[in-house]
Symmetry: C2
Subunit: 248 residues, 2 copies
């Protein structure tokens, strides 16, 4: 176990808390409140927040208190698009440099995922699903790629927290397994296709559901607004007129 700097510790703690939805999107993150439990000054908290901001996990700047980010729908799509591109490359590299130890490592990870799924521990399942992707990235031994993939996967976890169904576990162990199978067979293009498909499915599960909370507020409101206006139109002329005046 290598020792972390104190700023690094805070960074990881916050990141984990955000990813695991202990800190939901929009949660305020005041500097001294964060520092207190760790007994560190705002200086170090600030460093951690800055990194999280550049990871896209918190919104900060312009003297407002930092908050857990609320990625917009379009930003979320952007993230997934880049993630797909990079994970395809991950698979190509892993396939090109395949060793049987890789197979062993991946298999043992899949077993953990299965186990977690059986016990039904949601939190562990979600964490392992993310770690599968990061493990693959690590197999490339390309630190640049590892770094970017880690960032994107974290960001996707946040997106899932925002838009996903409450209990939307990734439930994707089989999809993961398909990727590994293709890798084992040495079928590069099939592996790439499986991965691409899998990430697309994750995206669909994350984004195609009804919004549970968050940035689509205006959309939700305008839907309700038109319903209400429709009711009013059939109900009471008086109220309807007032509504019209207000809009003017």
């Amino acid at each position: 176990m290598k020792k972390l700097t104190r700023a690094e510790t805070v960074y990881r703690a916050l990141r984990q808390a955000i990813i695991e939805q202990d800190l939901g999107p929009g949660t305020k993150l005041p500097e001294d409140e964060i520092g207190a439990p760790f007994n560190i000054s705002r200086t170090l908290v600030r460093q951690a927040l800055a990194r999280l901001q550049s990871d896209g996990l918190v919104e900060a700047g312009g003297k407002k208190t930092a908050t857990v980010a609320r990625p917009s729908l379009s930003e979320s799509k952007d993230v997934f698009r880049v993630r797909r591109a990079l994970e395809r490359e991950v698979i190509r590299i892993v396939a090109e440099t395949w060793t049987s130890e890789n197979g062993t490592l991946l298999e043992s990870h899949l077993n953990k995922e299965d186990a977690a799924r059986e016990t039904g521990d949601e939190r562990i399942s979600v964490r392992l699903a993310a770690e599968f992707h990061i493990l693959l990235a690590e197999l490339t031994q390309n630190p640049v790629l590892i770094d970017y993939v880690t960032q994107l996967v974290s960001r996707c976890s946040l997106i899932l927290a925002l838009y996903g169904r409450p209990h939307a576990t990734d439930c994707a162990v089989d999809e993961h397994r398909n990727v590994v199978i293709a890798l084992r067979e040495g079928n590069i293009e099939e592996a790439v296709r499986q991965m691409d498909h899998h990430v697309s499915l994750v995206e669909r599960r994350a984004l195609n559901d009804d919004v549970k909370n968050g940035p689509r507020l205006s959309e939700i409101l305008s839907r309700h607004a038109s319903e209400i206006q429709a009711e009013q139109a059939t109900d009471t002329i008086a109220i309807h007129e007032r509504q019209v005046k207000r809009q003017a």
Copy 2:
């Protein structure tokens, strides 16, 4: 012109200086020396340095003075590999959402590149070559992608500074033009291929030459060492023996 924060100003100034080789790899970047010309305290300089570090342009941490980074050969290859993957995706997106205005923009950029090349202004040429890639990324309107591509292109400029020939202008206007031509024709896969090929050539120009300066020091020395030892073996037994003792 939007106003930048003071930290942002320093960040950009340093980045530009590094990319344009005004600050060569290994140059020390002491915090107060950097802050002085801008009249800002170390606090803000520190923020700028932290960002540059996460961009891979400076090495810092562990109480040593920050320096302009010296990417290793393997790190450089990693950067190029990720860059290729992302730029392929850029081309796909731009091709999918092609408009004739894109053509106009790109064409006018190519003209600038031609002009710069004729006047022989190296610095401008290199800068424009990098901007071509960033312009393409911007056409995707995907901020995540823009961000990553910008980082990677900057990093490649640094790599070129380290490993490239002294006067290795990119001299790639034609390669850029080929990409644009394919885009105009709507030939997506051809455009992707042209871009991939172009980036590969940039990499080859950057990395296949002799090392001019830098991290391969140990390799250079060991080459010289063996030459010298060979000479010694044929020349003087005495010296050779001393050499052997020293190694023990």
